[in-house]
Each structure stands twice: as C-alpha cells, then as structure tokens.
Subunit: 65 residues, 2 copies
Amino acid sequence: MSITLKVEGMTCQHCVKAVTSAIQARDPKARVNVDLTGHSVTAETSLDRPALAAAVEEEGYKVVG
Amino acid sequence: MSITLKVEGMTCQHCVKAVTSAIQARDPKARVNVDLTGHSVTAETSLDRPALAAAVEEEGYKVVG
C-alpha cells in the first residue's frame, strides 16, 4: 500500500534519514521517499496510515495531512 | 580560544548534533554553540580556525566566514 503524508519540519538530509529509519524500524521492507521541498513522505509499506504517522511523529515532525 | 564561523546549510537539531559531534571528535573538551537562525557556529576550543572549519565542512556544510 502506498501512503502519502504531509509533514512539517523536515529540512535536511538528516531528517530524511531519521524519517526513513523510523519507518523501516517498523516495516523493514518499506520503501520510503521523503520530499523535503514538497513537505511530504510517501511510503510503500504494510503499515497502516496511523502507524506510519506515529513513526514520523516520534521523530519530532508534525503530520498535518 | 573562542572562534565563530559563519556557516551555511544548518537547518535543524540533527545539524546541531552533527556539527557539535564533529567538533568534539577533534577536541572532546570543546564547548560548541550552533545558532541556526544566525547561521553561525561558536566554539570554545583548542582547535585553530582551519581545523574547526574542516570539522564543520566534513559534515557537508559550507563555511562562508
């Protein structure tokens, strides 16, 4: 399943790594794309949307949509 | 010795950590302050200015002054 979240606060390559790692800690097979300029995270994952959002928020980012 | 560098590209708390760790890897006793909005790094350190700048640049940031 592919899910896209709108996320605030991701600014740099460290953020990309942090978000990607957090998602892959919950779903090692997840394919994650972080779009810094588009302020979004798209993941091909077996996680559902709340679990995906929780992983992102745990890293300190705000999921806004 | 206190040295202040103007640095481009530092955007978030991950950047603060990366820069601080890079400097403290070379001088464990260094006291480092990263000002994200002021785009500067100030360090109380035994490193000289070129060594401090090298530590910051190694993390992928541009020292501009």
